[in-house]
Structure formats: structure tokens, C-alpha cells
């Protein structure tokens, strides 16, 4: 994956040929490349119709006051036309600077940032720790590996319900805590514990992917590097620091980026853990936007779409900074 990332970022704006007039160039290009273009047409069409068009449409919606009461809809045999009107950038103004901006947007924004940072950190460190353990020569390694990827093998929407039963007020987790005379928090009711539970469940779900990817990375490090380091008198920690970590760089930069994107966009866990309507303070931006658009009456399509556009902008800005940072540190795989 990183290979392509590299080439995709290397020279922005490159690839546009220079030379003779545009018409001739077009003709020449057509003769030379038509195979390639014929082959990519299916995906380009799919992206245009299924991503591009809704994106434009969604952006237009954010400039209106559309909700479920004034959108086009069909009730029985009657078709009602859309009556929403253009209101410019008011939605964005309201979301970012309006009187309820903090309660509705910024508090969720901060929580989303904390959530993403915390989850990716835990995924990465626990995943790396387990990968290092699995990379040792221990008996039953295959068995452990199979056990540890169980959270990945079982669909998330199933395991989240399992957690929900375990975290219920008198659920097994609290029974165990009670038996040990430890406090029994209201996992699914207090804001702090809701957030704690969400991070915990997401960590549980996300570690296997990191572990498996990093294990692959560990196994591709040349063993002679370790031998050389040992010959030079490096102790275990130094070998880890100067051989393992640099050897994992290209895998790490990929999985951390994927992890950030996936966690930032993580919908199912929070949505299913707290049900459709409860826990407004534990919602991250994605689930909050979904709540605005589909979880309340009347459904506020315009604001929900505006949140979507803001989310996409945040991710785009983050990704471009991430690439720039990687490039400066020369961490992209070549």
C-alpha cells in the first residue's frame, strides 16, 4: 500500500505532459493510453456516480435548510416536492460559531480527537507488544495467534452486543468487580464510564489488525541485523530501539494512518453500544452527525450533511499533514 502512496504523493500535478498543442496531445495520448483508460473506466464511472455525485449533492444540501419535513417524499400515492431553500453558509456558521456551537460541535470534536488519539495509541502499543510476544519462539504460537485474532474474526456488530450485556448495570463485569469489593461503575450511564467503555471496546476490537500487521513487519526484518547489533554489544532495549523500530517504520506509518482514519470514522461500536438515542456525550462526530440526520425527528438533513463535509475536511487536512510529515522524516517506504 505504501508503495503506491509514495508515488501518489511524490509529485502533485505531475503526469501532465507538456509539448505540442492540446488537440494533438490528446490524440497522441489517446492512441498511447487507450488501453489503460478503457480498463479504468469501470472504477471511474462507479466513483463518479456513487461517490462524486452524492458528494456534490451533499455539499449542495449543506447550503440549504433541508430536513425531513421539506424534502421531496412520497406518502402513499402522493408525491410532495422538495420545498427547502438556499441559505448559503448559515449551517456552517451555526455549527462552528452559533450559540450552541460548543455543546453541539466543539465538545464532540474534542472528544473525537481524544478518542482517536487514545484508541490508536492503545491499538498500536498493545498490538506491538503482542506481536513481539508472538514473534518469540514459544510453544503454541499458532494457537495463541488464532485466539488473539478472534475479535477480528467475529463481526463487530455481534461482539459489541456481547460487551453491552457484560457492561450492563448488573452484568457480569460488575458482578466480578462486586465480588472483588471494587466499585461498580454505571458503564453505560455515566458520561466518563461511557467514554471509558467505548474506548475499551474499540481497543478490544482493533488490536488484532495491528498485531497481525506488525507481526508481518517484524518477520520481514532481516535477522542478520540483530546478529550484527548483538555483535556490536547492543542490549535488548537498544536492539529494539535501533533495529526493530526502524524496521517497522514503513508498516507503522501505514497502519497508524489506517488506524486513525478507521477510528475517526468508527461508527458501529458507539452506535450499537449505547443504542440509538442515549449517551449524547459519548457520541463522536460521525455518530453525532448520523444522529442529527436519522436519529431525531424531524431529521435535520442539512446539518447532518454539513457535519459530514466538516469531517471529510478534517480528515483531508490531517492526511495531507501526515504525508508531509512522513516525507520530511523520510519514513515512507520506497
Amino acid at each position: 500500500m505504501t508503495v503506491a502512496l509514495e508515488s501518489a504523493t511524490a509529485k502533485p500535478g505531475g503526469g501532465r505532459g507538456r509539448g505540442p498543442g492540446p488537440l494533438q496531445r490528446l490524440k497522441h495520448g489517446y492512441q498511447k493510453y487507450w488501453y489503460a483508460y478503457a480498463m479504468i473506466i469501470p472504477v471511474v464511472v462507479v466513483l463518479g456516480v456513487l461517490v462524486g455525485y452524492p458528494l456534490v449533492r451533499g455539499f449542495y444540501l449543506t447550503l440549504t435548510d433541508a430536513d425531513s419535513l421539506n424534502s421531496a417524499r412520497t406518502i402513499g400515492v402522493n408525491h410532495i416536492d422538495a420545498t427547502y431553500k438556499f441559505i448559503g453558509l448559515d449551517n456552517y456558521k451555526d455549527i462552528l460559531f452559533g450559540p450552541t456551537a460548543y455543546d453541539r460541535f466543539w465538545s464532540h470534536f474534542l472528544w473525537t480527537v481524544v478518542w482517536t488519539a487514545l484508541c490508536v495509541f492503545l491499538h498500536y502499543t498493545i498490538g506491538l507488544g503482542l506481536a513481539l510476544l508472538l514473534n518469540r519462539k514459544v510453544r503454541g504460537r499458532t494457537f495463541y495467534r488464532l485466539m488473539l485474532i478472534l475479535p477480528w474474526a467475529v463481526p463487530t456488530f455481534v461482539t459489541v452486543f456481547s460487551w453491552r450485556i457484560m457492561l450492563a448495570d448488573s452484568g457480569v463485569l460488575n458482578q466480578v468487580l462486586g465480588a472483588l469489593h471494587l466499585p461498580q461503575p454505571h458503564w453505560l450511564e455515566d458520561v466518563f464510564w461511557q467514554r471509558f467503555a467505548a474506548v475499551m471496546v474499540n481497543t478490544w476490537c482493533g488490536v488484532p489488525f495491528m498485531m497481525v500487521s506488525l507481526l508481518g513487519g517484524l518477520q520481514s526484518i532481516d535477522a542478520s541485523l540483530y546478529e550484527a547489533a548483538e555483535m556490536d554489544g547492543a542490549n535488548a532495549w537498544q536492539r529494539f530501539q535501533h533495529v526493530t523500530l526502524p524496521g517497522l517504520r514503513s508498516v507503522s506509518s501505514t497502519v497508524v494512518l489506517l488506524g486513525v482514519i478507521w477510528t475517526f470514522n468508527q461508527f458501529a461500536i458507539i452506535f450499537l453500544l449505547f443504542g440509538k438515542t442515549s449517551a449524547p456525550d459519548a457520541q463522536i462526530l460521525v455518530t453525532w452527525a448520523y444522529y442529527l440526520g436519522f436519529g431525531q425527528q424531524p431529521r435535520d438533513y442539512a446539518q447532518s450533511a454539513a457535519y459530514g463535509v466538516l469531517l471529510l475536511s478534517i480528515l483531508t487536512v490531517f492526511t495531507s499533514f501526515y504525508f508531509r510529515w512522513l516525507k520530511r522524516n523520510d519514513q515512507l517506504a520506497i
Binding site: 480498463m39 514473534n135 514459544v138 458482578q175 518477520q219 520481514s220 533495529v243 471529510l312
Partner: protein
């Protein structure tokens, strides 16, 4: 590959503890002392237990006949029964949900692979103006938050009268499955030697002929991985399925499972039984193909 040789040199904590233990015999590389071994096993057992506990608990609860049994798990041991399973199979829409889920997931996988295969090949073998922007687009669509597409998609499909149809859900899933399949398949095509293409071209095949007759048959494992990944993603998709499917006979599993737990009534026992019925075949299938899946996903990253 070289797992056996480097194995453990890389574990700092455990090796550090090993250094403290007395060395009785010369150890081979990657073998820890008894203390290190115990610590490693201890940590791995603990992690495995944490990984397995929620799933095991679900299986255990599914055997308790009452919906409040999760509050008194001890009592289940005495009255274990499969009654939840028979109820779910006979008196709920389980098989209807199974049908919907299979239609949507298989449809997504087929469309995803069929549409993405040629593109994966083109971006693996050819360079053309617009290559970089295409790669960017394929990557960027992976980062799309569902929130940015769900509202306009809902609007568009309501206008077309396609809400509550399988086709709509397949199309929605394809918006991420198709570019992702193209990515995965590019990675797989990259591993097939270019010499094969060249041989085909020398023998007079067109690029399409080369692709269809030579590369595609070789790339079957790659296609399978891409298809499987699309299948799993569509299978577990929650957000779109929850708003697009209205008729409870057309629910996919991800929506149907939620319907056991409403604000008014929570039938945890039936939910648990259904969850187990869903999870067991999926997990079994996952384990069968996981090796390929893992290499497919990380190929680009590890190859470097």
C-alpha cells in the same frame, strides 16, 4: 519465512528479564530463560482470555432460557437448553435476514471484484496521465466518513424509489468496496511477474487478452481475497443498512440483531442465540482464509 531465526530477539521486556535469570546452558537465539518463557506464556494466556471472553460469554448466555438470565449467570449452568436456538430458527425472521444478508454481501463482493479487476491491473502495469489522481481517489474514498455520504445517498435513493431495496444497499456498499478491491488487487497483480505479460504480448495478445487469458487465472487468490473482504465489510455494515432497510423481513443481520433490543423490551437470550448463529460460520470462514487476507492487506506495507 525467517520466523524461526529472528523470533525473539526483538522482545525487550522479556529478554531483559531473561538476562537476570541464571544461564545454565547455552541458549539458541530467540529462546528465553525459564522466567522469560513463563512471563511470555502468562501474558499471551491473559491476552487470549481477554480476546475470547466476550465471545465465550455470549455462547454461554445463549444457553439460558430467560431474558433476564444474564443477571444471574450462575443459574444458567443448571438449566442449560437450546430452546433459544429453536425459537430463533422457527419463530423469527432469521432465515429472511440470512437471505437478505447473503444477497447484499454476495452482490457487493461480485460487483466489487468485477468492476475493480481491470482497474487493479491497469494501475499495476501501466502509467498514464491521471494515474496519480486516480490512485489518490482510490485511497481517499477509503477515508470517507459515512456521514458525508449517508444523507445525500438517502435523498437520491428516495427520489429513485429505491429505499428498502437490496440494490440500493449493494450500490452503497460498492462505493467503498470497489475502490478498496482495486487497491487490494493492484497489490496482488504487483506480485505477478511482468515477464508473463511480456510473453503474452510477444505472442500477439492484446493487453485485454493478456489480462483475461494470462493474468486473471493467475490472480484468482487475489480476487478471492478482495471478494472476501468486500463480503465481510458488507456483511457487517451497520449505518446504511439501519436507515435504508425498513421492512423487517429485509433486514440484514446487522440491523436484525438490533431489533431484539429496543427501549421497551430486551430479549437478550434470543439476541445471544442469533448472535452465535451468525458469528460461528463467519468466524470459521474467516479462519479459513485469514492467512491470505492478512498478507493481502499488508502486502504493500511490508514489502516496502
Amino acid at each position: 519465512m525467517s520466523t524461526t531465526t529472528l523470533d525473539t530477539a526483538a522482545s525487550p521486556a522479556a529478554s531483559a528479564t531473561a538476562a537476570g535469570a541464571p544461564r545454565r546452558r547455552v541458549r539458541r537465539r530467540g529462546e528465553g530463560g525459564p522466567l522469560a518463557r513463563t512471563v511470555t506464556h502468562g501474558l499471551l494466556v491473559l491476552a487470549s482470555l481477554i480476546a475470547a471472553a466476550p465471545v465465550a460469554w455470549l455462547i454461554y448466555l445463549s444457553l439460558g432460557p430467560d431474558k433476564t438470565d444474564y443477571l444471574h449467570p450462575g443459574a444458567i449452568a443448571e438449566k442449560m437448553t437450546f430452546s433459544n436456538y429453536t425459537f430463533v430458527l422457527q419463530h423469527t425472521n432469521f432465515f429472511k435476514w440470512l437471505q437478505s444478508t447473503m444477497i447484499v454481501a454476495l452482490g457487493t463482493a461480485l460487483v466489487g471484484v468485477a468492476f475493480a479487476a481491470t482497474t487493479g491491473y491497469a494501475v499495476s502495469r501501466m502509467r498514464f496521465p491521471g494515474y496519480r489522481s486516480l490512485m489518490w481517489m482510490l485511497l481517499l474514498t477509503q477515508a470517507f466518513p459515512i456521514a458525508v455520504l449517508v444523507v445525500p445517498m438517502y435523498e437520491i435513493f428516495s427520489e429513485l424509489g429505491l429505499i428498502d431495496t437490496y440494490g440500493a444497499l449493494i450500490l452503497v456498499n460498492c462505493s467503498t468496496a470497489v475502490p478498496y478491491c482495486a487497491w487490494l488487487m493492484k497489490g496482488y497483480f504487483d506480485t505477478i511477474p511482468v515477464e508473463i505479460d511480456e510473453a503474452g504480448r510477444v505472442d500477439g495478445l492484446s493487453p485485454f487478452g493478456t489480462f483475461l487469458r494470462l493474468i486473471l487465472p493467475l490472480a484468482r487468490p487475489g480476487l478471492a481475497v478482495a471478494g472476501f473482504y468486500s463480503f465481510i465489510t458488507a456483511f457487517g455494515e451497520v449505518a446504511f443498512a439501519s436507515v435504508f432497510m425498513l421492512d423487517d423481513e429485509k433486514y440484514t443481520f446487522a440491523v436484525g440483531l438490533q431489533s431484539f433490543v429496543s427501549e421497551h423490551d430486551a430479549q437478550w437470550n434470543y439476541m445471544a442465540a442469533t448472535a452465535v448463529l451468525i458469528a460461528v460460520p463467519v468466524a470459521a470462514f474467516f479462519y479459513l482464509v485469514q492467512k491470505n487476507l492478512v498478507t493481502g492487506l499488508t502486502a504493500g506495507g511490508t514489502k516496502g
